[in-house]
């Protein structure tokens, strides 16, 4: 052994010396280069420059060692076949280190940029993994190429795989790209109130890489794929308005008609029966026309007026009864007293009225109201006005007509809530003074919406 060393010391020493020299020079070069890089990174406006410097610092050492080993092996007396194998091993090590560095850099850059955009944070892990896999696959292919493994079939296989993946996950990919567009545009943020073209509306609770989550007005969660959100018309009303101290729960009301069996042939009978029927009968006959003909021009007459005019042929009294302003009475009892008063006055002066023909008598009907909760709740004026667009006219009737007169609140429900829970006396008064009998129900809905929209702006 000693003999062999004494005879061949030069063939060992030269590679070792060259390896050490390369390593020393490499260290010096690294130190000088990184001083320059650090200065560049400090001056550069690009925030990723520090990451580039930081990530390449450690692999640089490995690259010096690989370079030193490469030089040493090539000046050594090893056989060519051994050198060829050693080259491949060194190339593999180099590719692995570069791949690791590239993956590490990609991860840090993704986290740097995605981390700044709140709505894209949920997709950070996905993007990091996609980058890692892509770089690892590229590194693997280069490695195989270095070892002489035929890679063409792998490329073809990969290309096919990518195409299949794109086809299978096309919706997902569209949504992911759309989420980037949404993030870039910064037009939709968590907490904004939006209304979609389809009529759905609510507050945005989250934007993920796949969909945007909206808390609907009925409390349900609406998931809108990001791609669809970009393709549809979205009205963004921005941040929430002042929150009410208590939410407004929308109810609806449906009517069932119950026949009382009572009827009147002439004015005297009408008068005597009016005095004894329940309030639900008075409510029915003063609101029936409005309910059944809610599409008609405003100012509908009450049933008493129509019957007196059409069946008794008494247009004067009919006109007097039609002119009773229902809105002017806070309770059904007061309204009933007024109707009775008008008929009594008229009868005192005109006692000989005619009777209705058989079959055309006035039949007293009782209105049974069934009040049912809807899923809609409003916490602020924005939600309130959006729910108003959606509720049935039965719900509108309940809160405007029935609450005021039949539930004897004196004022409609909307005004009460706006005053008590939002403290907006001005808007509450405007709604309270709005005479709902002057509108069709759709017209009334539209007028209330306009008043509130104006206030929100």
């Amino acid at each position: 052994m000693l003999d062999w060393l004494s005879e061949n010391w030069l063939s060992i020493a030269v590679p070792v010396v060259l390896f050490l020299a390369t390593y020393v020079v490499g260290l010096w070069t690294r130190r000088s280069a990184y001083r320059a890089f650090d200065r560049w990174a400090s001056r550069a406006k690009w925030e990723g420059s520090h990451l580039v410097v930081q990530v390449t610092r450690t692999p640089f050492l490995a690259w010096i060692v690989i370079l030193g080993a490469y030089i040493a092996i090539h000046v050594s007396v090893l056989e060519d076949s051994t050198k060829a194998v050693a080259d491949k091993v060194l190339a593999a090590l180099f590719v692995v280190s570069v791949t690791w560095m590239a993956a590490s850099l990609a991860e840090k850059l993704i986290r740097l940029y995605i981390g700044r955009v709140e709505r894209l944070r949920p997709s950070e892990g996905l993007l990091v993994n996609i980058a890692r896999i892509t770089i690892a696959v590229i590194g693997g292919l280069i490695l195989l190429d270095a070892w002489g493994v035929p890679t063409t079939p792998i490329y073809l296989l990969l290309a096919a795989g990518i195409l299949v993946a794109i086809f299978v996950f096309r919706d997902l990919l569209t949504n992911v790209f759309s989420s980037f567009q949404l993030a870039q545009g910064e037009q939709i943020k968590v907490g904004d109130f939006v209304r979609l073209e389809s009529g759905e509306g609510g507050y945005i609770t989250a934007v993920t890489w796949r969909n945007t989550q909206i808390r609907g007005l009925d409390g349900n969660l609406i998931l809108v794929p990001n791609s669809r959100l970009l393709q549809t018309t979205v009205i963004n009303y921005g941040r929430p308005l002042k929150k009410a101290s208590a939410p407004f729960r929308f109810y609806s009301r449906l009517h069932l008609k119950e026949v009382t069996g009572l009827k009147a042939c002439d004015l005297a009978e009408l008068l005597s029966t009016l005095k004894k029927v329940p309030g639900s009968v008075i409510y029915y006959h003063t609101h029936n026309f409005l309910e059944e003909h809610q599409y008609l021009t405003p100012e509908p007459a009450n049933d008493f007026s129509l019957w007196v005019s059409d069946e008794l042929g008494d247009e004067v009294l009919g006109e007097k009864l039609a002119s009773i302003d229902t809105f002017g009475f806070p309770t059904i009892a007061a309204l009933r007293a007024r109707i009775i008063g008008v008929i009594e006055d008229y009868l005192a002066k005109n006692p000989n009225g005619r009777a209705a023909s058989p079959g055309r008598e006035f039949r007293f009907i009782r209105s049974i109201s069934v009040v049912l909760p809807t899923p809609y709740i409003a916490h602020d004026l924005r939600e309130f006005v959006e729910v108003l667009r959606k509720i049935s006219i039965n719900s509108l009737s309940f809160h405007i007509f029935e609450a005021r007169l039949r539930l004897q609140k004196g004022v409609n429900d909307f005004s009460i809530w706006i005053q008590d829970c939002l403290g907006d006396n001005d808007l509450a008064d405007r709604l309270a003074y709005l005479d709902p009998y002057n509108y069709t129900l759709e017209g009334l809905r539209s007028t209330i919406i306009q008043l509130i929209e104006k206030r929100i702006k």
Partner: protein, 415 residues
């Protein structure tokens, strides 16, 4: 008693959403939920033929789609029994019928047989029309809620028959009538629920112009002059001769055509005679078209109504008269007499024009023919009126409300 697995409704509940709106269906679902799984057992006398069967055929599957356990059974009866109930039906309508003591005895006997055989299981027993009315005798033994649904116009009934039936009706928890005028003095609750039309049925659905043109061609009609149409079976109570008279008055100043379309009824031997009279009266006037339309030609009737400029219903007596709602649903201006349930569907000068005489009908026709804008407005108002009040969804809603109200005597029910 037979229970049939009846066919599913041709329409799905969601098919009505574009017509009545989402909120209407939402409210129906809330009401159905409130029934809390109660079984609604409908009982009538037949699965096929007649207005009641037609209503139940649509109504029961739609109730099921809402999650209501609605079922349908029929009573059994001999031909003689149904002859007697037919007489009852006519007598309740005010027609003179000879009804003997034997007829009443037969009714009682068949009722007793059904009481012995009937499987009554509903939480709510919804009994339709007079034939099964006697089943109420089981109420004492089994309790539950019992409702009698009267589909007949009993505004002027034969007193003897009504007195007989009233003995059963007063034991029910409630009765349902179609119009205020049909209601009676009863010691039980009486609800008012109007009948309805199905906007998706052949008789009412939208038609393309090809179908309308083909129907006009088939009956030799042209659309080159205004067309006044009355669709009803040939019956003196529909006053076809009065319609011709009114048309002739109008024709003196306005060039137009009249179409009288309808069928004859097998159970009405007079209808052939009426048809002959109408044809004779129309002879020599090429602008009067008397069309005998076979039973079941719903699409053709629909097409004729859609082709009309004005639709008439100049009945001398009428039940509820759903043909008015059918005409209004097509947004047509309607001239009709103020009889039966017609004034419930037509508010004079708002959703159509009401008349009482031939002269009044002619005047109304002239007003509409000379003012197409006014006619269109009435038609549009009429369509909305039907949408709000006379579609099958309103009918469903009223039934659900009535089922709920059975447990609540108060005026305002909070669910």
């Amino acid at each position: 008693m037979v229970n049939e697995v009846y066919s599913q409704s041709r329409s799905r509940l969601q098919d009505y959403e574009p017509i009545v709106g989402r909120s209407c269906l939402e409210e129906l679902r809330i009401l159905a939920e409130e029934l809390g799984g109660k079984i609604v057992q409908n009982i009538n006398s037949t699965f096929v033929g007649g207005g009641v069967a037609e209503i139940l055929e649509h109504m029961v599957p739609l109730l099921n789609q809402l999650g209501v356990d609605a079922r349908w059974d029929v009573i059994q009866g001999s031909d003689e029994f149904f002859e007697v109930t037919k007489k009852f039906h006519n007598a309740l309508h005010g027609k003179e019928e000879k009804i003997s003591a034997d007829d009443f005895a037969l009714f009682a006997e068949v009722t007793q047989q059904n009481l012995e055989e009937a499987r009554l299981y509903g939480d709510i027993l919804f009994v339709h029309d007079p034939q099964p009315v006697g089943l109420i005798a089981r109420k004492k033994e089994m309790g539950r809620k019992w409702v009698w649904r009267c589909h007949i116009d009993v505004s002027n009934p034969d007193k003897k028959v009504w007195r007989f039936l009233r003995g059963f009706v007063v034991d029910y928890d409630a009765a349902v009538f179609s119009a205020p005028a049909f209601a009676q003095q009863l010691p039980i609750r009486q609800f008012l629920i109007t009948p309805s039309i199905d906007p998706l049925s052949d008789k009412n659905k939208e038609l393309d112009s090809g179908m309308i043109d083909a129907t006009l061609t088939k009956y030799g009609l042209t659309s080159d002059k205004p067309m006044i149409v009355q669709v009803s079976r040939f019956d003196r109570l529909k006053d076809p001769l009065g319609v011709i008279e009114a048309f002739e008055m109008v024709k003196k100043s306005i060039d137009c055509q009249l179409v009288l379309a309808g069928g004859t009824a097998d159970d009405d031997p007079e209808s052939e005679e009426v048809l002959a009279d109408v044809r004779k009266r129309a002879e020599g006037n090429p602008d009067i078209h008397v069309l005998l339309v076979p039973t079941g030609s719903d699409l053709e009737i629909n097409a004729l109504q859609r082709a009309a400029t004005i639709i008439m219903q100049k009945s001398l007596k009428e039940g509820f008269g759903l043909t008015i709602s059918e005409a209004l649903w097509k947004a047509k201006p309607v001239v009709a007499t103020a009889v039966g349930g017609i004034p419930l569907q037509i508010r004079n000068k708002f959703t159509g024009l009401l008349c009482h005489t031939v002269e009044g009908a002619a005047y109304a026709l002239r007003q509409l023919l000379n003012n197409s804008e006014y006619a269109n407005r009435l038609g549009q108002n009429g369509k909305e009126h039907v949408r709000q009040n006379f579609l099958i969804t309103s009918h469903l809603q009223n039934y659900l409300l009535m089922f709920l109200a059975l447990d609540h005597p108060e005026d305002i029910i909070h669910l």
